[in-house]
Symmetry: C2
Subunit: 466 residues, 2 copies
């Protein structure tokens, strides 16, 4: 397995001392990496965080595989009902291992597709219900608490849609993934007799891709989840090492922490040069934003910190975002994600057409062109003093993907330690959720409905005063 | 037709004077809007910018419709070969008017699909070639200059793929959209006898959605491009009005310019609450980033200005990005995009399940829930002094979409005037392109290959020195 992180273009020698790290800055900061590792290890050993254990659950993997085998052949669609961390991991796995969505192989019972209901837009959901066949659909409903309004609403619809065709047998086509001991999805699953898999209490949504949350849909899609976990396990072992040379997650974390906070880069661009990694980029957006966007440090100090993650796709976004990246404010750090060997080189025809602006490409390959585009973009950014690093995966198979996901989770956790924030909560989303419960008339949320009504009254006044 | 812009939550009265506009600031700035309109009008009348004319080309619309009618029934796939502004508009139209991709109706000769080859990743392109049937595919190749490496490479592959099945008849299945008088795609199209439509010289890629660039693929997909243009034409008329009350583009432009530059918001989040508007959000990302990310003003002053556009999808990204938006740095202005009436309300089952956290939703609708989510998120942002505005479309049909696209183009052009930058060039992407040409051995680009080699030498030194 091979994954590298090249931080050369994050060095002052390449992008200047205002935007890159000097050897002294790196040396001085190195002890803080060791401390971050130590304090994270301590919390982990206290049982606070469960994601490092996920790749080692060989029994769960076998159970999930058995479950998938039992259902195999009875469905052409895996319908995932979930949102945020309950949906992004499965999409990332599907996109990376089975190809970008619009050009995946036609779906069938031997090659089922993934349909993700991760929004309550009726234009998505009602279209999905029309596009799927209840008798050929397996529904995976995922919610840790079981109270997520979007997931509940979609599940109520999907459940009725299944029952209208399958009657009481509908329950056999539903699998729930939820907490073992809290939340009402668990209650409903028990009442109705759904198969159920559990999310460990110390694993948050955005760190759950290697729990049943990501692995069950993956297994149902025919992905080799054992290999995925083996790759992640190998990376996990590396992530506990104290040596910055051997611990790629810790090295990348320290680099990005120093560039972000020391060189004032409030934006990070995750820049895969791979359509198959596009889903991972969106999964990463949640991981980075929700883990590291925080009002307060653990010590209670108000900091309102956070680095805004942006997903850009190479080479496509060279024709959309790179103008801004090269000429706009120098407020970003770029992280390329490349794949050394693609499934095919994409060999171009040898025949020349007598047209200069086309003929130089004859007999070359898409793979070579895409690589040239990435190197050229990195070079252009560097010449304009824009710091950029690069993760390179040898291949994009189960093992490398599992390792890469785990690497990014460890890296995020380490940056949380370096910032002294809690990377594992998300208090900031509660207010909006409560307003929604209030507006939808859930009992116990009347005060939020009233608070929202007051706000809308103030809005009307402000509008009139303008 | 109804499109509103609600700027109430951009007011100091709602989000405080550090983050919102006071009545005095608005009054003082209003004359600059009038000047921006005047100076843009002057450049337009001098023929510099063509996008305001596009909705009025009734003859072109008829020609495109005729062309589509002639081909109709002979294809189940429209394969678009293009990148950046040559691809994003067609995707935006398809997604908005025919539904989000993963759950579109099954494709057929009476309901063809759009496949966009906007990257040179062989994992995308080779999979697409396998997924399409040459005899049932119409290829639209779009490049203004005709020298775009990615488009040329993909076109060479697609052309060979077509010819291998159709022989000399392949040319009849290819339509080129390119400049009339420059670039070698035009030469090739003439040599090989492709049908050809032209991109006006004064219309750049990101402003070209209502030229043949967007309209031809749309017509081939069965979209009513006449209605699209009529909506855009109506909006265009409004966009030339001097009154801020009547000119929604100018009003939105002034608001965003003042918040961006005056309240220090280097990031703009385009936040559609609609899966169907997801493509438009990516189209907008290019429009905003490439038009307004600039090193210099028109007066030659170095400013390195630009507001980073971020696409977020409501309600989905409430479970991914909103934690950062609420608690992180107050460095963003949010623009919601909502749709008042969806194609279906998404009525939820009336039956209760005896589970409190689910039963309050019984008998309600997805439409109502999605609306509640958006209002709640806006309220939560506002309570945390995060400025946010909202474009509301009455419906998402051809006319509203055409109007909305045109509105965003005018808004972008007006902000360019307010900043005194050229919103219509993109010099910043040239260096990377030239490096790529150098690496791929195109003649005339040897010096760039050498410059890149020097850079990689410096990289190796820096790596060793670390």
């Amino acid at each position: 397995m091979g994954i590298d992180f090249d931080s050369t273009n994050l060095l002052a020698g390449m992008v200047g001392p205002e935007n890159g790290l000097t050897p002294k800055e790196w040396r001085d900061a190195s002890p803080s990496a060791a401390n971050a590792l130590k304090s994270f290890r301590k919390s982990y050993e206290a049982g606070d965080y469960g994601f490092p254990d996920l790749p080692f659950q060989t029994r769960l993997v076998k159970e999930l595989q058995r479950h998938a085998r039992q259902m195999q052949g009875s469905y052409d669609t895996v319908c995932l009902v979930g949102i945020g961390g309950s949906a992004l991991g499965a999409w990332a796995l599907d996109c990376a291992l089975r190809g970008p969505h619009p050009v995946q192989k036609p779906f069938s019972k031997s090659h089922p597709r993934l349909v993700v209901l991760d929004n309550v837009d009726p234009d998505l959901v009602m279209a999905a219900l029309e596009a799927m066949e209840p008798k050929k659909t397996v529904v995976v409903v995922i919610a840790k608490s079981g109270a997520t309004a979007e997931t509940v609403a979609n599940f109520l619809l999907v459940r009725e849609w299944l029952e209208s065709k399958l009657g009481r047998k509908a329950a056999q086509r539903i699998v729930a993934v939820t907490s073992e001991d809290r939340g009402e999805l668990k209650v409903l699953a028990t009442n109705e007799g759904y198969s159920t898999f559990h999310i460990p209490g110390n694993v948050g949504g955005r760190f759950s891709v290697l729990s049943a949350v990501g692995l069950l849909p993956a297994a149902l899609l025919g992905i080799d989840i054992a290999k995925l976990c083996r790759g992640a396990a190998e990376m996990t072992d590396a992530c506990w090492k104290a040596s910055l040379d051997k611990n790629i997650a810790l090295r990348a974390a320290l680099n990005h922490y120093l560039i972000w906070t020391g060189k004032n880069k409030p934006i990070q661009v995750a820049f895969p040069y791979s359509n198959r990694l596009w889903g991972v980029a969106f999964w990463f957006r949640q991981l980075w934003a929700e883990s590291l966007g925080k009002a307060r440090t653990r010590a209670g100090e108000t900091v309102n910190i956070g680095q805004t993650p942006v997903a850009a796709l190479g080479a496509t976004d060279q024709h959309s975002q790179v103008q801004l990246y090269i000429e706009g404010p120098n407020d970003k750090v770029y992280t390329f994600w490349t794949v050394r060997r693609r499934s095919s080189p994409g060999r171009l025809p040898k025949q020349k057409l007598g047209v200069e602006s086309m003929d130089y490409l004859a007999g070359q390959s898409l793979e070579k062109l895409l690589d040239a585009e990435q190197r050229s973009t990195a070079a252009a950014l560097t010449e304009n003093n824009r710091p950029n690093g690069c993760f390179a995966l040898d291949r994009l198979d189960e093992a490398h993907l599992g390792a890469f996901l785990q690497l990014l989770e460890f890296k995020t956790a380490f940056v949380g330690e370096l910032l002294n924030i809690n990377a594992f909560d998300q208090e900031g989303v509660e207010l909006g959720k409560r307003f929604t419960f209030g507006l939808m008339g859930r009992s116990g949320f009347d005060s939020y409905r009233e608070r929202l009504a007051d706000y809308e009254k103030r809005q009307n006044q402000a509008r009139r005063m303008r």
